[in-house]
Symmetry: C2
Subunit: 356 residues, 2 copies
């Protein structure tokens, strides 16, 4: 299966970004090229990339190198790094998208910098107040998008309404969920629950959801995220970040405790060996690598921010998602959806305060 087509379909990859760069990152690109027939621009230090590519069979794969010496490090200050390191690998990757040479960009490097660089290079879509990170959260039986997952700590109800719209479009197009269910994260299901921000957002969504094509089902609680009650959970980036990191930490702690018990004696080890294939299925479901990375939604292009710990599989999936996000027209659909928000806002009276 050769990947070459007349007009190359390529994704730009920051080959230097991530804890496991360059080895796993470049391996991920090789796998994406082979499995999905996607061309990948490998952006970074040419000799390093060449040395890695030499370890694999890349016959017939479309993996052009874009050389740069500059790299944004994990501990660089995001905004400063983006301003000073104008030729950093992640920035050049994004410029390939901006210039129409790549469908999307992927980086597992400094995520704050990747966010800032995506905004700076690709710009926000007209009408978008705040681009947001949509994180995929594994649930009992499907994926749930938590948006915002950390891009915006302080949010207005209007931002959260936009998150609901952007998340709906993403889940519809990338996860093929028809009319995805949107829940607003709160401390109770009743519409009177929430902090002031959530109470106001609930009113706004209740008023506008139908017009905007958002399948808003009301408030959801923390337990409903792993419970898989909705396809999209809307929250501000402060809460979303706590949700993400708490979940990662809790799963790690819990699995660590279980693993320790399973290896605490020879008999336990033998019993655990029998259960291993089944448990591996459980662990796999919790594996962020399955989902590849997190899209920054609301920008004019496709940028995927991968976990710093990404392995080859995560990068492979991120490359697939970057292409899919571009090809299914997520950005255009968001821009169109936002004009519906603007129209719906024109003739409406101010959001009213509900008496309590």
């Amino acid at each position: 299966m050769s990947a070459s087509v007349s007009a190359p379909v390529r994704v730009a990859l920051d080959a230097m970004g991530g804890d496991k760069a360059p080895g796993e990152i470049i391996l991920g690109a090789v796998q994406a090229a082979r499995e999905y027939g996607i061309g990948v621009y490998l952006v970074g230090r040419e000799e390093v990339i060449r040395a890695e590519l030499a370890k694999h069979d890349t016959t017939g794969l479309d993996l052009p190198i874009v050389h740069t010496d500059e790299v944004i490090e994990m501990d660089d200050h995001p905004a400063t790094a983006v301003r000073r390191k104008k030729n950093a690998s992640m920035i050049l990757a994004l410029q390939l998208v901006r210039d129409g040479k790549a469908l999307g960009a992927v980086s597992a490097g400094n995520s704050g910098a990747m966010m800032a660089a995506s905004l700076f290079t690709l710009k926000r879509l007209p009408g978008v107040d705040r681009p947001a990170l949509g994180g995929i959260f594994p649930t009992k039986d499907k994926a749930c998008l938590v948006i915002d997952m950390g891009a915006n700590t302080d949010c207005k109800p209007e931002y959260l309404q936009q998150f609901a719209l952007m998340g709906s479009i993403y889940m519809e197009r990338i996860f093929n969920v028809p009319s995805p269910r949107v829940g607003l994260l709160a401390n109770g299901e009743e519409e009177s629950k929430g902090n002031q921000q959530v109470i106001d957002t609930h009113k706004l969504l209740k008023q506008n959801a139908a017009k905007l094509g958002i399948n808003f089902i009301g408030n959801v609680e923390g337990r409903d995220i792993p419970g898989g009650v909705v396809d999209i959970v809307v929250c501000d980036g402060f809460v979303g970040n706590v949700v993400l990191k708490l979940s990662e930490g809790l799963a790690e702690t819990l699995l660590g405790l279980i693993r320790a018990e399973m290896t605490s004696s020879l008999v336990n080890k033998l019993a655990a060996a029998i259960l291993k294939p089944g448990l591996r299925k459980v662990f796999k479901r919790l594996d962020y690598a399955e989902y590849g990375g997190v899209p920054l939604l609301g920008i004019n292009g496709s940028a995927i921010i991968s976990h710093g710990r990404s392995n080859a599989k995560a990068i492979k999936n991120a490359i697939r998602v970057a292409r899919q996000t571009a090809e299914t027209g997520v950005a255009q659909a968001i821009a169109e959806g936002l004009t519906r928000i603007e129209q719906s806002e024109q003739p409406q009276p101010e959001v009213q305060q509900v008496d309590k």
Copy 2:
């Protein structure tokens, strides 16, 4: 071991509150009376309580009944119920505390109503802006108090500072943690991280912690809660509620998936049987029943709000904690600590805005 002493040491229990009332609730009281020598006022319908007590050997136990026909139901609106059902079992239990007849009150009933009734009956301590719920979160190797866990959705930095103080006193006295470590929940460890509320609270705590005897170690992230990095995690009640419910939901989902794998075949069931004692240790660590209930801190007395699903063990432990909270002088220590906050506020300039 008889429990009678000359001046009876009693806790007041809402015998009608909880999903498993009255059976498990009253059994919990019997166990507390026998194991800890605590007298327990059983507040509720006399004939129901008598019928339950008849199932157990209560010889020598101090379990007086306080009869009332009125009960606040789980689906009653908290504030309305507290106003209308003036003789409800949880309210009478709290009045026994207010009148000096009981050391503390415990209810596994409608938690919103128990909070409202505690505030209404026992009143807040002088200087307390907002009483808060301190929830015990099981971690890798110890307990962590998350405060506030749901009493206050919108908080000012001054409230969060008080939560830090109240939580410190509770962990010191009830969990015997010397100089407990306090972390402020944020989306990153750097002091520049957080929403505006958290950034302002960080500044306030940094300025005042030493004077107040709070061992403030800075910001913590979601993953640090199960990681056991600190003894107290301070957050507003909206975030705290999300943390609590997400954790419960995630643990349930994860253990459910693992359990399903372990029983998916006869061979798996046999292997699982070998691992059972070890895994039970893990599950036990996650068992809210070990901690009994959640104190409402900042009120003039000891009120423990138990989980709706409380079993006898949870109630037994809640009764123990209610007594301990009273006997170790948690409320008095909070009141004293708050005068230190007031003193520290007198000569201080306004909290300054940090340039970003």
